[in-house]
Amino acid sequence: MPAWLVTLGWAVLKASLILGFVLFNALFLVWWERKFAARIQSRVGPQRTGRPFGYLQSMADVFKLLSKEDVVPARVDRWMYVLAPIVIFVPAVLVYVVVPFGPNLIVQDLNIGILYVAAVTSFTMIAIVMAGWAANNKYSVVSAMRAAAQLVAYEVPLVLAVIGPVMLAGTLSLQGIVRAQEGLWYIVVQPLGFLVFLTAGMAELNRAPFDLSEAESELVAGYNIEYSGMRWSFFFLAEFSNLVAVSAIATTLFLGGWQAPWFLPAAVKGLIPPVVWFLAKTYFLVTVIMWIRWTLPRVRIDQLLDFGWKFLLPVSLANIALTGLLFPVLVRLGWI
């Protein structure tokens, strides 16, 4: 077999695995979010489709979305309107290229992994602006403008928060950062960085309390107001994919990735495979983000910008300075 065919085969296999993960993940999370939100709101959530827990609810949703008429409204900018759902979906899948699911379970361990993540996730906003502008609806335009303003406000603290773990690990590769956390997870020495990352990450995900660009009570639905059927579901798919991606990156950077907790004896560590640890931590963070979403009211756009520029940015800068100052101490203590 020629070498190029092998490479191609591997690439196709890995791509299909990621796509499969993204799709099944969305199916699971739609159900999980509905059940979880229902428990918070003292309801029971879906239970009829797939008794007794409603586990077939997302399948029913998918069939409904697939069978819907594909509507392109008359006055939209047709090219951008059609392209936006694709543009939002592609980066949502691309992020998973560098996410280490296990010691050997990674598509490509790029040596600039974390930079790649920051670059790819920013693409989402371009798609949102495209969708908002193309729909030719005033609500979606306002939504797109909010998204653009939001992007600059939280993207900077997000990247600065990442610098802490990078300094400690001495590498930009995500796999390298995970391996460096064998003795101690970085959340212990980087609590500030972790909080900044999670907060800015929620802003990136457009989830409450930062869901300004799809603020249901103000902008009706925001940028996807004119979308329906499968086109709309691409936005939805991307949202859930990004939710897991941000949680996975946070797990990788601060919660030791696929590493078992450092304080467990070696015998116990060996019992559970690394990928289970990774997924458990990731979905725990996903649940925390959902928990916050269903508890807090939404902030206003000027308050979000204030929060991003005047609070998160100084805090993340202080975190970098602190990390630099404490680095020799931590090394002497043998913590890293």
Partner: protein
Amino acid sequence: MGGARTRPEPQTGARENVIELPVLAEGSVEEISGRTRQRARFRGDFEYPGDDFEGPNVNRWQYLPQTPPVEDLLVEEVREIEGNEREMVMNMGPQHPSTHGVLRCVLGLRGEAITRCRPDIGYLHRCHEKLNELWSYQGTIALSDRLDYLAAMTNELAFVLAVEKLLEIEPTERADYIRVICSELQRIASHLLFFGTTALDLGAVTPFLHSFREREAVYDVFEYISGARLLYNYMRFGGVRTDFPPGTDKKIREVLDLLENRLPEYHDLLSYNPIFAVRTQGVGVLSRDDAIAWGAAGPVLRGSGVAYDLRKADPYSGYEKFDFKVCVEESGDVWARFMVRMKEIEESIKIIRQALDGLPEGDARGQVPRFIKPPPGEVYARVEGPRGELGCYVVSDGSDKPYRCHWRTPSFHHVSLLEFVPVGHLVADVVAIIGSMDPVFGEVDK
């Protein structure tokens, strides 16, 4: 927030499309009794041939605000203002998740800042006051349920009090207590819904469902008392339709205990949440003078620092017997209006407890015939509804139907405040401000 807010100039110019109506002397109401029920065209720039109006003193109706100019309600892409300045015109409603029904606001936007807000009403108009003239007095009780459909009990009470004034009868003492209990339970139910929708308007879904859970408990009590959950048809002239069924006392006390347990939970979840505080404090400030001048009432007025509550100022149904506070907040913002309502729930619980303790024995139904013909005359009765002063003005011509029945509904006045309160705020604040007025479009559009 809080940029420059300008109040629209009061309209003092010529009112060319209002016909001067003949002013009749006091006591001339008798002249109309027995006449054919001819209606006047109160407003309009045309005259009907043979339109020789004679009627009661309706001269005050010409002071109704004029309808806004049509061009203010058109939605263009952008609007040119002063030279190169342009603003986007955004149509919010009547189909919008946060306009509490069918309010339509035409917003002028520069960026997200509101330069102009023009509320437009009438999408739920169902000729309510005209129907009042066609239905018998008894039927009008059921009809008045449909005004403010979230506070049907207080609507009924206002109408029943008015007709009792006409008939010059007093309800039984037990009926008075039952009316107070029902009014206060209704206030609690309505304020619980307000709590939920405020949270929803600000993007928090969970408090909404929690408050509806408790509202259900209150509605269960209503169902037990009157057989209906939303529109009760429970008040009657001289009393109420049926006495409390056995066990009502226990049921109501259970609900009150439940509420007292849950209210601190609400405050933890929403009221003292920092995000909620920054979203509501200093937003939509309504000054004391504006509130009085624009006819605000109820929690909106009390949120602006005016301690005016009809239950104290003009007691009806024996409210003077109960010990409760008038809840006032000074700041006049969304937060103040919210807190006034939350405190009122606690006061209502106190009132209901006192009323249950002192509930006298006796007949809850008055000895009033089912078919009544009140003597000619005009009366105004008012109650403190959950949204403010709810007035009912009834003119009788001696027949079995009201000659005229006008409702002074608080939400109507509060919606008119939207013309200047949101100006200078952001789109997100408009939603919060509309929510803090707590309008119900059943009573705005009538």
